[in-house]
């Protein structure tokens, strides 16, 4: 019986067993395997939307929107590296692999980032010549799998990022299903074509913080102490992880909250492991401040960054830059209504498509199929990335000026209030209209 629009109360959907839950139980019973998908957490989580800025008024002077400067430059890697990265905007492109993404999509990310003067990042599987060629500033990831890892690319990079974890799956390794393993991907990863590549979740040659310090030391020796060394962690025990990474010698901490995207991970992992980005930023800043390393070791935050408001709030909580992944793919055309018919043919719809693991992406982004990838124009994609990064920056500046800040890094927690008790506790800013910060007594 269909729901009668005039009398919807006749049928009551269970909150516990809603239609999504029912569909998943029945899918699991039918297929006998967990759901693997792309995208990030889809559940509602406390996020930057739960924070608001207190614009300037009588007690604070705002800056004129079109006349007074609000600087956006960021320097990453000032602690030990001879050649820190100088970014013009406080937003970077997060690590995404060639394999998960098509070569033209990787190229577009590089083109867009370079156009606005920021960095992009390699991923599991190594560095492609296209992304090096088109990236003004390229961060080279050292991942547990070490697929495609080689010293020549390490030296070609502008910074090195030791990946410990990822927000979508802290404690989990990478995954690239067999149908996305093209000849080129297989060759770069030294594996046969067509097999499922489940990357290791632990590094092969170090275990724990003491080893990490020695590993970072080796990476510095390998690169003659020129390049900044980042450490990327998925947000879980963030306070302790950040302290350990700093003590191990990191120049930059990259912190990925649980809203961070993935190309292929078990749904149960995406939705149930890790902590949201907002509380993670606060814990990371606590850890840095306690070591007297805030701003000395820079903090890059990712996981659900969508707008300049998200960037500004992350910066106000103490980050030095934000990083985008999912939003960058969307900016390039992922989930665009222009592909609606094609999405329908593969059982999805624009706005819902999350089968990035499947390699059937109508937008030509999360695929290794030559025909699909050829639909994607890296020049146009790069322009869209650049436009989007500019908008994020302009929005961030708008909010910073409203708070009277001449540099986006001057935003501070004092500029924020929370809309919910949860956000007030997690971000440690007062609930709007009160001076109440629940749980402000400490992080433990």
């Amino acid at each position: 019986m269909a729901v009668d629009a005039e009398r919807p109360w006749d049928l009551r959907e269970s909150y516990l067993f809603d239609r999504t839950v029912i569909a998943e139980i029945q899918r699991a019973a039918r297929e006998g395997i967990y759901d693997i998908r792309g995208f990030g957490a889809k559940r509602r989580l406390p996020h930057f939307d739960d924070l608001l800025f207190l614009g300037a008024s009588v007690s604070r002077y705002p800056l004129e929107g079109y006349r007074e400067r609000c600087d956006t430059d960021v320097v990453l890697g000032t602690r030990f590296a001879k050649k820190p990265l100088h970014l013009k905007v406080p937003v970077t492109i997060a690590g995404m692999s060639f394999g998960a993404l098509s070569a033209p999509a990787k190229e577009a990310l590089s083109r867009g980032a370079s156009e606005v003067g920021t960095s992009t990042t390699t991923g599991d599987g190594g560095m492609t010549p296209e992304e090096r060629e088109h990236s003004e500033i390229l961060v080279y990831q050292v991942l547990p799998s070490r697929y495609g890892m080689n010293p020549d690319d390490l030296r070609k990079a502008d910074a090195v990022e030791v990946v410990v974890g990822q927000g979508a799956k802290p404690g989990g390794g990478g995954m690239l299903l067999g149908h996305k393993i093209s000849d080129r991907v297989a060759e770069m990863r030294d594996l046969p074509k067509g097999i499922d590549q489940r990357s290791a979740c632990r590094h092969p040659d170090w275990t724990g913080p003491d080893d990490l310090e020695i590993k970072i030391g080796e990476l510095r020796e390998l690169t003659d102490w020129e390049k900044p060394v980042f450490v990327k962690i998925g947000a879980t025990r963030t306070y302790y992880d950040v302290q350990l990474a700093v003590k191990a010698g990191a120049d930059v901490i990259v912190l990925d909250g649980m809203q961070g995207g993935t190309a292929a991970t078990q749904d149960v992992f995406i939705e149930h492991v890790g902590i949201p980005t907002m509380p993670a930023v606060r814990l990371a800043v606590d850890a840095l401040q306690e070591l007297d390393m805030h701003r000395e070791v820079q903090l890059v935050v990712s996981g659900g960054i969508r707008s300049g408001a998200d960037v500004a709030k992350a910066l106000a909580l103490g980050a030095d830059a934000a990083s985008i992944g999912t939003a960058a793919l969307i900016a390039m055309g992922d989930n665009s209504p222009e592909h609606e018919e094609a999405y329908r043919q593969i059982g999805s719809s624009a706005g819902f498509y999350d089968d990035w693991q499947a390699g059937l992406d109508p937008a030509g982004i999360s695929t290794q199929d030559d025909e699909l990838a050829a639909r994607f124009d890296p020049v146009l994609g790069g322009r869209r990335i650049a436009n989007y990064l500019r908008v994020l920056t302009l929005e961030t500046q708008t909010l910073a000026r409203a708070c009277g800040k001449s540099h986006v890094h001057n935003l501070e927690p004092e500029d924020l209030v929370a809309l919910t008790v949860e956000a007030a506790a997690m971000a440690r800013v007062p609930l709007a209209g009160t001076d109440w910060i629940p749980g402000a007594s400490g992080h433990a």
């Binding site: 594996l191 097999i195 020695i214 690169t223 003659d224």
Partner: protein, 240 residues
């Protein structure tokens, strides 16, 4: 430069005392030899005293003799160079090596040759756990025994063990070939014994000769992937 001067440069041994020279100065000088730059081709490193990352990142046809024990990641990411450790080596010796030769006269700690893409690593003593973990084309010859989880997720390349192998040998191995002369405490997931055919005896003979290890190829057993876990099947869930 005259031929005589060139010959003298080739024959001369550059001695670096790590008790007096900062490690980064040594590594920087070795890195400067990349791309065929002029400089000493033979080096002797004295007093390594367990230092980490000694002679890592080399990319030149040079010979480096290290007189003593080294810490982690000695000869890490080596290309082309020949590095010989006259002592023991810590964790991750020759990690991610691309080419060249690394020889350890003594024992090697964990993760020897981890994720190596090419070249030859020889350990004349024993190697600890995870020897050849994630190997991607490197050849490893261990004259003694190896610890548990050796050749874990090994992709390509050859691991030769003249002694015994610990638990979970070749767990989740891909296409790497494993040869063991002694006993194997246990095989890891998807690793099985395979027949030692003529082709394998020939390859083994060549590896032993290159490693200068005296052993009869006929005494070895061969192990490799059963290829049952290459694509996830729910029926195999119990194997994980």
């Amino acid at each position: 430069m005259t031929e005589t001067a060139q010959a003298a440069e080739t024959a001369a041994v550059e001695v670096v005392n790590l008790a007096a020279t900062p490690l980064r100065d040594l590594n920087h000088r070795l890195h400067e030899l990349a791309g065929g730059a002029r400089g000493p081709r033979r080096w002797r490193i004295e007093n390594p005293n367990g230092a980490h990352a000694v002679a890592c990142g080399l990319d030149a046809d040079v010979e480096v003799e290290i007189q003593g024990h080294v810490g982690y990641y000695c000869a890490g990411m080596n290309k082309r160079a020949t590095v010989r450790v006259h002592g023991n080596a810590g964790t991750g010796v020759a990690e991610n090596m691309m080419s060249g030769t690394v020889v350890v006269d003594g024992n090697a700690s964990q993760s020897a040759g981890a994720s190596g893409h090419g070249g030859l690593l020889v350990v004349h003593g024993d190697a600890a756990a995870r020897c050849g973990i994630s190997m991607k084309g490197i050849d490893i010859v261990v004259e003694g025994s190896v610890g548990h989880l050796s050749a874990f997720m090994a992709q390509t390349g050859r691991l030769v063990v003249c002694g015994d192998a610990g638990e979970a040998l070749g767990d989740s191995v891909y296409e790497a070939r494993i040869y063991v002369r002694g006993t194997v405490a246990g095989l890891g997931a998807d690793c099985i014994e395979k027949e030692l055919e003529e082709e394998h005896r020939t390859e083994l003979s060549d590896l032993l000769e290159r490693a200068r290890v005296d052993a009869d190829p006929a005494d070895f057993r061969r192990y490799g992937s059963a290829r049952q876990l290459y694509n996830f099947k729910v029926d195999n869930a119990g194997a994980y």
